[in-house]
């Protein structure tokens, strides 16, 4: 790919879970994020806003990216006196903006209060790669499923990408039935559900690739068509080489188990109270 092709790309990498906060010993997704920037040594900005800028997340970010070919930094929207320059200036000079997980409702409210939503849109249009996990992934879509106020509920996002996105499809299964019923009711548009360890790469609004840091993890596209949910499973490319045979065997078992669990949840999902799941 030529440099000019790269320049035209509008990338968003949305992870269902994983990366440095969830996979401290597995760098596959984060290494993949770095390859998405055209720069050899990309400037990567971490926004831990959704967590309330916890030191834990910030430390994990530096532990992962500190020793890699990149220029890492973070911006806090809570701590005072660390930075004199305006937000806009800092964000617009980045090659990658990486958004951490936490409360999606708080994330969006805080960004809007600082007008960071507008700055990020401008950065994306100028070619900055936007990446994130969990709340930091759902925020780019028209909507997601958040637990920001307790029980899972649909929430509108920034709408840079068409469709909805739900995360931790395997790790936090209580979100999935809420997402599906929101699709059925029309509260959320059709979209994608991603397991932990799975990332979806969008270029200019179109899904281009699905990758995974773990064997057995996957994603699905679901649309409500005439009141019926139509589901397609998406097979991710496993990052970091082929899985071992052992992994592949386990993979099928796990997949089968998850499929059964999902079916069970769907059958009873509508009447379920989520604390029971």
């Amino acid at each position: 790919m030529s440099a000019s092709d790269r320049d035209k790309r509008r990338l968003i990498f949305a992870m269902g879970g994983g990366g440095f906060t969830m996979e401290p010993t597995n760098p596959l997704l984060d290494d993949y994020v770095l390859t998405l920037a055209a720069a050899k040594e990309p400037r990567i900005l971490f926004l831990p806003t959704a967590s309330g800028d916890t030191t834990t997340q910030i430390n994990a970010f530096y532990a992962r990216f500190g020793g890699r070919a990149c220029i890492p930094r973070y911006v806090s929207l809570f701590r005072l006196g660390e930075e004199e320059r305006p937000l806009e200036e800092i964000v617009l000079e980045q090659d990658i903006v990486y958004v951490g997980g936490g409360s999606m409702r708080n994330l969006l409210a805080i960004w809007r209060a600082h007008k960071l939503d507008e700055i990020l849109l401008e950065a994306w249009r100028k070619g900055t790669v936007l990446a994130g996990i969990s709340a930091g992934a759902m925020c780019w879509f028209e909507g997601g499923v958040t637990c920001s106020s307790g029980a899972p509920e649909p929430l509108e996002g920034l709408g840079l990408l068409e469709g909805s996105f739900t995360v931790h499809a395997d790790g936090e299964p209580e979100r999935l039935p809420v997402w599906l019923s929101s699709l059925r009711s029309g509260e959320l548009p059709g979209g994608w559900a991603a397991d932990d360890g799975v990332g979806l790469l969008f270029n200019a609004g179109t899904l281009e690739r699905v990758v995974s840091s773990r064997p057995g993890a996957g994603a699905q596209r679901v649309d409500a068509i005439a009141g019926e949910l139509v589901r397609h499973r998406l097979e991710p490319d496993l990052l970091g080489g082929a899985p071992s045979t052992f992994g592949a065997v386990l993979d099928d078992d796990v997949r089968e188990l998850r499929r059964v669990q999902r079916l069970r949840r769907e059958m009873t999902g509508e009447s379920h109270r989520f604390e029971d799941v």
Partner: protein
């Protein structure tokens, strides 16, 4: 229900988070509740619910009060009906103590969860509201916030129809910045040094108290194109501390937060 006067104590800085060795301001605020064992809820939103801040709150207040806190970032860890709990928990308090940090981020989060409305109702019901720094700025119509770039005007909840400036003595440029904003049209208001508390009854400034002998507070307004700053009378709380019926133990003797003391609406 008996009617109580709405009260706000706006700290230019100070209280448990900034004054390890002085409980003067916190004692003064607790006494306003007239409760033998006040129910005090801490909102650390402006700090991003920083753990160390929450711990310091319990160190100061758990001995003499029914202390609790609400984390707006960990609501997913709570039980059911949290939305209702938030309002009813806050409206059941004698004192709501708002921590410092970034006022813009805090107001964004509050509004997203409807806390702005709850706090207004709490104030109207006579629940004492207080806080330093961002926990002061938030109650006013306008405030000066210095964060990421030059200081600017930010809108607050507007319970007090004035502007506000905190840390007036601690940051050398603050005074000039505040004067510039008032000259340019920001409404008249109050500035307070670290350790100084502006005590409002209703929307009227009732008293100014300080934990420091030299603490200052000022009324700043524009008059005929000029900014006029008037020094306010400040009462030093020092000598009177021993008489306070509601003195809480100092941090050295206060208990660590126990299970019951650390009760939060959302178990954070």
């Amino acid at each position: 229900m008996r009617t109580r006067t709405p009260q706000i104590v706006a700290l230019g800085g100070g209280g448990f988070s900034m004054e390890k060795d002085s409980t003067l301001l916190d004692d003064y605020i607790l006494a306003l509740t007239k409760a033998r064992r006040p129910r005090v809820c801490f909102l650390p939103t402006a700090s991003g619910d920083a753990d160390h801040y929450v711990v310091r709150f319990y160190r100061r207040f758990s001995a003499g009060c029914e202390a609790s806190h609400i984390s707006m970032f960990r609501r997913d860890q709570g039980g059911r009906g949290v939305e209702d709990d938030l309002a009813s928990h806050l409206l059941g308090q004698d004192l709501i103590y708002v921590g410092g940090g970034n006022v813009v981020s805090m107001l964004g989060v509050w509004r997203a969860h409807g806390l702005d409305r709850v706090l207004r109702e709490a104030w109207q019901r006579g629940i004492v509201l207080c806080g330093p720094s961002a926990g002061s700025l938030c109650w006013f119509s306008e405030a000066l916030s210095a964060f990421h770039g030059p200081p600017r005007r930010v809108g607050g909840l507007g319970l007090l129809p004035y502007s506000n400036c905190v840390h007036y003595d601690a940051e050398p440029a603050r005074r000039a910045e505040y004067h510039t904003l008032v000259r340019e049209g920001m409404r008249a208001g109050y500035a307070a040094d670290d350790g100084v508390a502006l005590h409002f009854k209703g929307t009227k400034l009732d008293r100014v108290v300080s934990s420091r002998e030299r603490g200052g507070a000022f009324h700043v307004r524009r008059s005929a194109g000029q900014v006029r700053e008037t020094a306010l009378e400040v009462s030093y709380l020092g000598e009177r501390a021993a008489k306070s019926k509601h003195a809480v133990r100092t941090s050295a003797t206060a208990k660590q937060p126990g299970r019951s003391a650390a009760r939060a609406v959302v178990l954070a």
